[in-house]
Symmetry: D2
Amino acid sequence: NKSYLLKLTCPDDLGVMAKITGHLYQHGAFIINARHFADPEQQRFNMRIEFDDRQFSLSQQAFEQEFAGFAAAMNMTYQLRCALSRPKIIIMVSREDHCLNLLLNKWQSGVLKADICAIISNHQNTRKLAEFYGIDFHYLPIDKNYKAQQEAKLWQLFCEYDGDLLVLARYMQILSDDLCTKLQGRAINIHHSFLPGFKGAKPYQQAYDRGVKIIGATAHYVTEDLDEGPIIVQEVKAVDHATTVKDMIEIGHDIEATALARAVRWHVEDRILLNGQRTVIL
Amino acid sequence: NKSYLLKLTCPDDLGVMAKITGHLYQHGAFIINARHFADPEQQRFNMRIEFDDRQFSLSQQAFEQEFAGFAAAMNMTYQLRCALSRPKIIIMVSREDHCLNLLLNKWQSGVLKADICAIISNHQNTRKLAEFYGIDFHYLPIDKNYKAQQEAKLWQLFCEYDGDLLVLARYMQILSDDLCTKLQGRAINIHHSFLPGFKGAKPYQQAYDRGVKIIGATAHYVTEDLDEGPIIVQEVKAVDHATTVKDMIEIGHDIEATALARAVRWHVEDRILLNGQRTVIL
Amino acid sequence: NKSYLLKLTCPDDLGVMAKITGHLYQHGAFIINARHFADPEQQRFNMRIEFDDRQFSLSQQAFEQEFAGFAAAMNMTYQLRCALSRPKIIIMVSREDHCLNLLLNKWQSGVLKADICAIISNHQNTRKLAEFYGIDFHYLPIDKNYKAQQEAKLWQLFCEYDGDLLVLARYMQILSDDLCTKLQGRAINIHHSFLPGFKGAKPYQQAYDRGVKIIGATAHYVTEDLDEGPIIVQEVKAVDHATTVKDMIEIGHDIEATALARAVRWHVEDRILLNGQRTVIL
Amino acid sequence: NKSYLLKLTCPDDLGVMAKITGHLYQHGAFIINARHFADPEQQRFNMRIEFDDRQFSLSQQAFEQEFAGFAAAMNMTYQLRCALSRPKIIIMVSREDHCLNLLLNKWQSGVLKADICAIISNHQNTRKLAEFYGIDFHYLPIDKNYKAQQEAKLWQLFCEYDGDLLVLARYMQILSDDLCTKLQGRAINIHHSFLPGFKGAKPYQQAYDRGVKIIGATAHYVTEDLDEGPIIVQEVKAVDHATTVKDMIEIGHDIEATALARAVRWHVEDRILLNGQRTVIL
């Protein structure tokens, strides 16, 4: 059988779930997995369905055409794709490679069902790791006077690779508003604090100075407002008065890497729907 | 509008969600909230739906009759009740009152939408608390030679109050197999360990002796096999080498109380379905 | 034997631990429990020692005099008291009583080794609970035009009871800068967010709007800068897209109550040292 | 300055801390960091001290001799070493490389202050990773009829490398009692459950079948009693009814890797003291 991933959002009216599942049933889609969330505030219905074609009454093409018509009638935004197709990921990284390293390990072990096409960095030190995993490496150093050119090159690479997702795996550089807009919903960043606490630079130093008893990491979509994008995953770890900034950085590495890897996985599996400033994970 | 709570389980076949939501839609049930889980192992479909009658095409009675027929055709086990009806709870407690105290506080603040009919104890010390909250108190002391009589009395009280749920809020006495069977799915216990670790008596001493770095509490349905019933909620808390057994007991009080209160709340809101040895929380 | 609690802070020089423990040893103080923390940033040495007099070579009075001289020579700030003496607590509360309720339960069970002298509220609803526990209740309603008088009355009560600690158990009113200064290091507040995120009013609504995946509660000392005081305890709990503001409030109740109770306990047991903006918990 | 790490355990008598810190002070050891724990049950005093020689009144050799005499008089077991010396680690691994991968990343980034001398595996698949990091790789396949020979070879390698610590990074093979005894306190294993729950094989399947709501990982010293050794680190993660065994395995990978890496780090930094069946982490 061939499996499909459908994610959709539409206005939440009477009978919306009956209509959607009824439409699939009528054309023989066999639901393997389904989750939904009807947001009472926004009156939006969000759903993710994994189904296969074992009882399809139509060809794939006809099924997709039928669904497109149905979706239009329901005022629905949706994405339907073959479950085996693999989203294309470009990873950006700065000097610290702990997030990159976990992503590569999970990718190689088959947990991350995507194609990692390229690693782009403003430093050379991760080149060897990229080569070890057989992934293209691009060195895009940053020169204050040529930031726009560097970003243009980055965007060009993303387009050349036909990228679906840009992962900022501790890239530590701010993208321009223009690029953020282009990448809306297609770029995930890891911020090394429990947002909205400690935005901006040196969050562990900030956390130390404030004397918090728990530190965190936040994976979120990139938006023009720095560290304000929709949150996907947060992880936390207890610390105490004896935890130095250096300790926090080291403890933080673990939760940064796992939070980012989880967020990337959920994105790749089409589990995340944007619901205004918030995410729905299905 | 009048709201209803429906919880159901049936075999997971093609179109089951379409049929169920279609049936509700057809009779004008307006879904406020719905969650489902299709267990791939057991091939069971579980669902909880909260709906109201704002667009009912039938009387309540007719709707219920229609649904009964539909359920039979679907080979469905279900429970349908008015959301405003309040389950009747009997709480059993021994000397330690921290779990009882939290349940009463949540009940009084309106979080626990149930009627707490009676508190039964083998000690007198919680009588005053019961009186403060205006709840019947029954003192059923335990005499080794008259255990069966004490339990018979307990069961009699449960029946007289027309109890829906028996909560063992640190009752610390083992119920007979017979009573466990009678109360299947209707009795919740809190065990002061992270089950399946440290079953039986003195779990904190056991945890201390084993040198664990995290302790826990487990709220579960009571079954004939002591501490083996389906788990509803587990909570944990970090400890270290300096944590004494006395400290563990004190730390444990907090997670016992909150785990039990959450489990009772979910039961009362019809969120829990039994799925073999496991629970599904919707 | 008679036990003592000593907590101290002094500059961190060569041999400071040897000198302090040597002084105690020399006069026969038998250390039951000791913890220390030498802050490398502030170059401060902090220590908490529990000892008894089983081998005292001096009278209590002479011991205390000796220690005072020693402390002066060490440039030490310290507090030495008999372990059995009980700090006096005044609790302030607004309408919501979940924090108060847990404090009272822990106090009655003997975990909180302090005297709760009075409960002060701007509402009448917790009067009965105070009476149940046999604690004085004072109703100090708030009138916008007489805020200063209300606060003067509050301070008068605190003084009359000879209070050691003021606990704001969800009091929900801002104290004046003057009163905050008077109560420095002697007033603990619970804020219903994971500070520094979501300061000010309606933190759960703020958390919901921001779409965080974990909520928190923070017990901290009160300072003139609202929600900026030194943090004592933080607790967190995972939430998801389906968690409403109302759910957050209810989930939050549990972590607010336990975080505050822990902070109050540690204060009462002389475990907390102020280290600039940060706390050291020993 | 030259720094030293001292870890010690001795009977807990009057003045023990004064004597130890006094001895160091007398010879000019400048304490950078110290933690201790006096176990009230076992009446043992445990301490870890990091000090430097900036004010040493003796040569290193004389200091060590003096300390040896002092330790004997105190009935003390201790280990004193230069902080810069690096323990030698041998890692054993089976097919799954997530734990190994994190250890190597932390080692390369300088967090793990040890020499990783060799990776030994009963499979070939991690050979390339070893080569990438420039570490010796030994393939020791397992043949049921030659288990003793394989283990003899393993022990020989450990001795040849002059190993200080054997890390079982998901090695999945049981060591003989004899080897466990030889390696007592020098071998760390990661078990993929929250011990003592789910010992033995397929712990995630066991956890799924039991329906727990939290899964865990446990890093512990290896002893002859399988999965019964002293626990060093435990980590947990929430799961729910929808979490499959496969999901658990994937979620578990993260906590296994971080728990093991932390345990190895603490061992390497001489932070762990064995206290009967329990560990003290200083």
